[in-house]
Symmetry: C2
Subunit: 183 residues, 2 copies
């Protein structure tokens, strides 16, 4: 995708009105969702997905409400968009987040195959508010070398590779499955 | 956690039976879940969480079944364990996965505060079977420097920071919220 193409797009819905930058407008909506989330017992994060066909799907952080540590705003919006569209593939969609997606949310966006992610605040703003996004990025930094286990002590979570004889049996079964749905 | 303490633990439930390594036993269960998943229209991944109180919670990959790109085996197990225990905090739990957790799943484990993660196959086995885990780890490698946006073209997903005036408004609201639940 040509980034400049996205950035230079302008609203032309009202010729006499001031041009509203569509990226800024969607980010503002994500931020409003984040502020509203705080007022409604959610975490201070909001997200908007605009699907390929122009559908707008919202999400907010629901970790403590839903007892789901994966219910970040971006993941919530991705799940909802997929449920609405009846697909696991959001190709052509754009994700707007009030804050830089954490590694979980960024990888969720990768798996969902969204085209682009825009965010307003960043991991350092989140850290200043008490959230571990920046620390978790640092944890990943220690796991990206040839010996990823050396980064395993990043924040006290042990990560170990214990290869067993049957380790690749699931992939062997997958390869010969004629009805498999690749994703 | 002392890794050696975990690795050297042996089953003592039957003095005359061969010692069964508990990590290996849980990994074998995760692999069995992965093989069964393939036979039941799921992806070739399985996971087991053993909670602090000894509860065993299972998960398998349900991406295509549930139209949820985040429904990896580990995430599914984390969500189930949290739902069963009525908490967003799995401190004291251990996650066993048939394959190395992708960045989404590893970060989910961090947010869930599990103590340890063990896996059998790795990202390269997954890549050989057609999955993007290794590629997504590489994507993260490009986002961990001082200018993370330079890694944004890893697999065609644009990631951009567009700071707006109201970017930190949600965190300002969060800081002054007396009823907030930190996580």
């Amino acid at each position: 995708m040509d980034r400049n193409a996205v950035i230079s797009t302008r609203s032309t819905s009202a010729a006499d009105a001031p041009a509203v930058h569509p990226v800024a407008a969607h980010l503002e909506k994500a931020i409003t969702l984040a502020v509203d989330s705080v007022a409604n017992a959610g975490g201070p994060f909001g997200a908007v997905i605009v699907t390929r066909d122009g559908r707008v799907v919202e999400g907010n952080n629901r970790v403590t409400q839903d007892n789901d540590p994966t219910a970040h705003a971006e993941v919530t919006a991705i799940r909802r968009a997929c449920a609405e569209l009846g697909t696991f593939d959001l190709s052509g969609a754009v994700l707007y987040s009030s804050c830089e997606p954490c590694p979980m949310c960024l990888a969720s966006a990768l798996w969902a195959r969204v085209d682009a992610v825009y965010f307003a605040a960043d991991r350092h703003d989140a850290a200043a508010a008490g959230f571990d996004d920046a620390e978790f990025y640092d944890f990943f930094a220690g796991r990206l070398g040839d010996r990823p286990e050396t980064g395993a002590t990043g924040r006290g979570m042990t990560v170990r590779h214990e290869r067993t004889r049957s380790a690749v049996a699931p992939f062997d079964a997958w390869r010969v499955l004629e009805t498999r749905i690749d994703y």
